[in-house]
């Protein structure tokens, strides 16, 4: 095996090796996606976020427009406050509803944004007023059993839409 043949094969090997790494990074992984694009932050608070995870997608009409960046518990009203990072290109109306959905029965949990008709748009740091919490299976089942027990036709399966009421004295920035 002479030297130039070895050099050639090693060169080919290293080239396809790096090609494989690039393939994994770009085609398989999402190296050049939303996390790098400029965006702004919105907040939303929920009774219950269910199985929502960090970096879960934020979708509008099924299109991914952002990611969940942070989740914390509001110590005063014991609600979950979720920070969303939305792609700069997309603006949402002030009366947008944020709801926590599951794709399929056992799929991933994501936040769905339904825009309304308000002419005013949400800005960086704004809070989404209307939110719909996650459906918790246990509550669903207990509600179903409860309704069954009381002989009723079954109550509402979905959690009611909740408006974020500002408690007296609390000021928004």
């Amino acid at each position: 095996m002479n030297r130039s043949a070895i050099d050639l094969w090693v060169g080919i090997f290293v080239a396809i090796g790096f090609g494989a790494i690039l393939f994994l990074a770009l085609k398989v992984g999402n190296l050049l996606t939303l996390d790098r694009t400029p965006g702004y932050h919105l907040e939303a608070s929920f009774d219950n976020i269910g199985g929502l995870k960090l970096r879960a997608p934020v979708k509008a009409a099924g299109v991914v427009v952002g990611r969940v960046e942070a989740v914390r518990l509001d110590p005063k009203i014991y609600d979950a406050v979720v920070t969303l990072r939305i792609d700069q290109h997309y603006d949402f109306t002030k009366d947008t509803i944020a709801s926590i959905n599951t794709s399929g029965l056992l799929g991933e949990v994501y936040i769905s944004l339904d825009a309304g008709g308000d002419p005013v748009m949400l800005k960086d740091g704004d809070r989404i007023r209307k939110t719909q919490s996650a459906v918790v299976i246990e509550k669903l089942i207990s509600q179903f059993l409860f309704d069954k027990a009381s002989g009723g036709a079954g109550g509402e399966a979905a959690a009611p839409v909740k408006s974020v009421e500002k408690p007296a004295g609390e000021t928004k920035k």
Binding site: V10, I16, A20, V28, T33, K53, R55, P57, L106
Partner: protein
């Protein structure tokens, strides 16, 4: 207690102590060996053609087994995975299943094991044989340090080849998964790639896979060159050193994999 029993227990304790101190001193020796190899690295890179030659023997010649294994593992993963996923109506998630399994775990670990048994054992046998036929001693007497000329190039050849081989394993595995998933099983190609792209993050998934394969490369190459250099200069000595390389490398890969996985992916599913 009878005198024999106490003597027997004392003997057992002595042997346990001896094994532990023996293992500890061997670990110390291996660490010094690693430092010596690293120290001679500039020499290895000055003789670039030597290192290139070792990349050829360790990497290029492992390509066939790595690519074929990757392909088959990906195909089997796809097949088995789909059977389980479709029970929960999650058949479309096949892409993510195959990709994450390969990139995070199977790629680095399996290619590491294959590399250890193919290239690692070859390195050990080569160096051990050179020791047996006094070629290493001849080199020393000619004022050429065998660590710089024989050991370090092989070490770096292994370390450079491993991450590339692991990436190729994963890439071919994903391709194999695609072949089984889309044309054969009938999953939508867009769903396959789309779900995969959404679910596989460059960091931590791909990068941690690369880090793992790099660590495995260092471990396997170090064990291989050490066992060869340390082998008894007889036929059985070389053959038992070769076996030890494969066994120790495999154990090291699996143990390191566990430790690294704990650190890397522990936080992945935490909110």
């Amino acid at each position: 207690m009878s005198a024999e029993l106490t003597a027997g227990i004392a003997q057992l304790l002595r042997r346990i102590g001896g094994t532990v101190t023996g293992a500890a001193s061997k670990l110390g020796f291996v660490s010094r060996f690693l430092l010596a190899v690293l120290w001679h690295t500039p020499g290895a890179f000055r003789r670039m053609h030597l290192t290139l030659r070792e990349i050829y023997f360790a990497g290029v010649l492992s390509l066939v087994i790595i690519l074929m294994s990757g392909l088959f593992v990906g195909m089997v993963l796809s097949l088995q995975g789909y059977e389980t996923l479709k029970r929960y109506g999650a058949g479309e998630q096949l892409g993510i299943l195959v990709a994450l399994s390969l990139v995070r775990e199977l790629g680095p670990v399996m290619s590491g094991l294959l590399f250890a048994s193919r290239a690692g054992s070859a390195m050990t046998a080569e160096i051990g044989l050179m020791k047996t036929t006094e070629q290493l001693a001849a080199m020393e007497m000619m004022a050429v340090d065998p660590l710089a000329r024989v050991v370090a190039p092989r070490f770096w050849g292994g370390v450079i080849s491993m991450p590339l081989l692991a990436a190729l394993f994963s890439a071919f595995g994903i391709f194999g998964g695609y072949i089984v998933g889309v044309p054969l099983i009938g999953i939508d190609a867009g769903a396959f790639w789309g779900q995969m792209k959404a679910g596989v993050d460059f960091w931590p998934d791909v990068t941690n896979g690369i880090i793992k394969s790099f660590v495995f490369g260092v471990a396997v190459s170090l064990i291989a060159v050490f066992e060869g250099y340390d082998a008894k200069p007889t036929a059985e000595g070389v053959s038992s050193a070769t076996t030890r390389t494969v066994v120790m490398s495999s154990l090291a890969i699996l143990a390191l994999d566990f430790v690294m996985t704990v650190f890397m992916f522990r936080g992945a599913s935490v909110v």
